[in-house]
Amino acid sequence: MAVSRREFLQGGAAAAALILSGKKAEAGGADGSQMRTKGLKSSTTICPFCAVGCGLVVHTKNGKIVNIEGDTQHPINQGALCSKGSALFQVANNERRLQKVMYRAPGSDKFEEKSWDWALERIAQKMKETRDKSFKAKEINKKDNKEYVVNRTEGMAFLGGAGLDNEECYLWSKFARSMGVANLEHQARI
């Protein structure tokens, strides 16, 4: 049974006639016939939901994602996907996705649209104020009554990372510690 299903999936991939190199998005090769897939570009990705690490193929046309399906060449999922993985297309194409920077002033009952530059400058100002105010260069330890250099801020916390890429996690870690943030935590703790 497993074999026939796999053959079926591989057959489906053949019909799509897209050869995957796993490199950057590139035009499909063998689409001689006038199929709906003609002119599509494809690239590979890994599912953003659980940590099985299933492979998917993303098809784009004119820069827009038009289809996402299981990667039949991927050794773990061999083209198969669960209901969440199958729905990745709706993460990419979804009217509820945030498209703008939004800001809510203290006490306000609504969000207002802001520019990236405005928001990032204000956040930087808030981070700096908080760090400057709460920065602890030294502290007396209660147990031995000695003074220690601690160089940390406890005035803010940074949370998250399980949905970020490795390279993003690394820079987040590097940035957080350079700021002296002791309160650095993510989903693995809960």
């Binding site: 994602i65 996705r97 956040i123 993510h186």
Partner: protein, 802 residues
Amino acid sequence: MTNHWIDLRNADAILAIGCNPAENHPISMKWIEAAMDQGGKLIAVDPRFTRTASKADHYAQIRPGTDIAFLGGMINFALQNNMIHEEYVREYTNASFIVNEKFDFNEGLFCSFDDQEKTYDPKAWAYAVDGAGNPKRDKSMKDPRCVYQLLKKHYSRYTVDMVCNITGTKKEDYIAVAKAFCSTGRADKAGTILYAMGITQSTHGTQNVRATAMLQMLLGNIGIAGGGVNALRGESNVQGSSDYGLLFHLLPGYLKSPEFDNVDLKAYLEKWTPKTKDAKSANWWGNTPKYTVSLLKAWYGDNATKENGFCYDYLPKRSGNYSFVKLMEKMGKGELAGLVCMGQNPAVGGPDSLKTREALGKLDWLVTVDLWETETSIFWKRPGVNPKDIKTEVFMLPAASSVEKEGSISNSGRWAQWRYKAAEPVGEAKSDLWIINQFAKRMKKAYEKGGAFPEPITKLSWNYGQGEEPEVHMVAKEINGYFTKDMTIVDKDKTLEFKAGDQVPMFKYLQDDGSTVSGCWIYCGSYTKDGNQMARRDLADPTGLGMYPKWSWCWPVNRRIIYNRASVNPDGVPFNPKRVVITWDALEKKWKGDVPDGPWPPMNDAKEGKYPFIMVPEGHGRLYALDMKDGPFPEHYEPVESPAKNLLSKTQTNPAVKIPANMTSDTAKFPFVGTTYRMTEHWQAGAMTRSLPWLVELVPTMFVEISQTLARAKGINNGDMVKVTTERGSIEAKALVTSRLKPFNVQGKEIEQVGLPWHFGYAGLATGDSGNVLTPSVGCANTSIPEFKAFLCNIEKGGKRA
């Protein structure tokens, strides 16, 4: 995972305890079923008859939070029935090690407990040492003070009758499970243990995990194909985010974040570099100085010199516990001004969420970086509050999705796989990489003008190209690491020449003198002169075991099964000739197969042989632990909120856990055991699924699952609205009455359970009350992971919240 997903097909028995792969890791079932097609047995141990249980050869029902009793009983079963892998236990674990005379255990308490502080002094549990300073051993394992005898004595109390009285498991089911799994104690059989949050989310979660590892070591199941202790991780890159040290106690690569009394680099390295006097022990963490200095060079570049301790002073030093639950406590007291959430949604994901939502209102500022509105980003307009009363300034930043950026993620099997950008981010959304880069650059600029101790920021090495988007390949190359000067390295019979700027090929070449950079030592080898190894797509499978060594790249050093030196006997001959992970070629004097856990010859080689468990200084797997906060052996305690008395000792709950105020064991008020769980159609705190119409159509609303007997007793019909209450709060939801839930027979009483998904909240397309309104914020003694899986609740017909 010690092993990886495809390797599940190599198992003769698969024990899924505290996890539900068919529901939460559905594609893993492909490989579980492949094992079953070849006669492998699937065993499901869970409070609920899950989708995994429905596929299993054996199912055992277990009361939430009693895993140590269950697993301790299996340890006892294996020992009493002579089912252990004796050679493996004697040679590769610390079973033969002698424990010092002071060690003692009485009525649920190990020796050296401080009742005031609720802490142990683990020094009291040390091995007895010989004149040379090495642990004393008795390889006959007959000495009454050896670990094997102490272990046997400890778990002799965990008889089948005792265990089943605690766990509520039917005796015949328990015996069937114990027999089926312990039968893999033979050299030619493999058993794997799969676990997830059912094991970790407990006040004794770390000891739950240890119990699985101990059982696996006794059965000789670590290091082999089809074996291992395999955590089924729930988020696509929660492995990577842990690897990169996004936890208060860690730096990248599981180096420890400095403590206040690690006053300089020397003191830090002295504290965290383990030592051994045994030449046969590889003691891999002995390399800590190389990895630490290479990290500091990655962070502070040319500013990091030997003279200034490689800028060690710039790192923050911790004093105490900054874990998630503690942070929320501090936030609730108004002690935090700011919070940045990078794709995390604490208003739904954390325990006792009503408290968390209130605490968010004590912040001066909040930044959320997400694809969606989340319960956290709109907490100020949540049902029941007046936005005017909430002074928090909120910045909601739109993030790119996974197909709108490029980079790698690491799956549960440690495979780092590269993803490509298929399209531009929607609207004005930006990648997290871009956003972090903006934060860093703007802070650098601000601190150029002065501020509190600006140097850690102004001197931070931050060079990721001139483009608008930081160059992700430059980040990946820094993580791998490179040489800072021309180097000649002699490695056995090879002389290797490197130029300044060359990528370091693997972490054994990292240095402690500043001549190498590496942002995360365990990823050294992922991006070399041969290019980005994480992007590989070669399907070659030379061992035939499904390791696919040229598909992506896995840490460490592309080793697909860790501790694989334990898959061979001390002469390097595979225990199981049918599933050869590695084998020693005595003629060529090298290992063949998977990348071995170190290049040295087999353990019996008099000159260069090493023990297989290279990450502990004694080189032997720890059946008896030296550094746990709550004892060297896992011992059963009840969850903090429990309907039962501890039958095994007078110590009711984990003595090393301090219990917060809003917890109760009042079973008159809260007679049922509550437990939370996940489902295929939704994901974690729900933001990523509750706005996708296809998934919302599949599961549109919050529900509460109860048994037919409880439904009858309470007059509840399927689909009725019900109210569930705990000491923390109450929620309403639709009742789902199923035969998947059954009451437990606990010490002669029938105890009902209430099952709750925790994916819902008030934001998104599909909304519903959050299961975590009910859960307690008491955590594991070692990790502080909250006890989401076992608490006391009540359920009533009718939907009004309290």
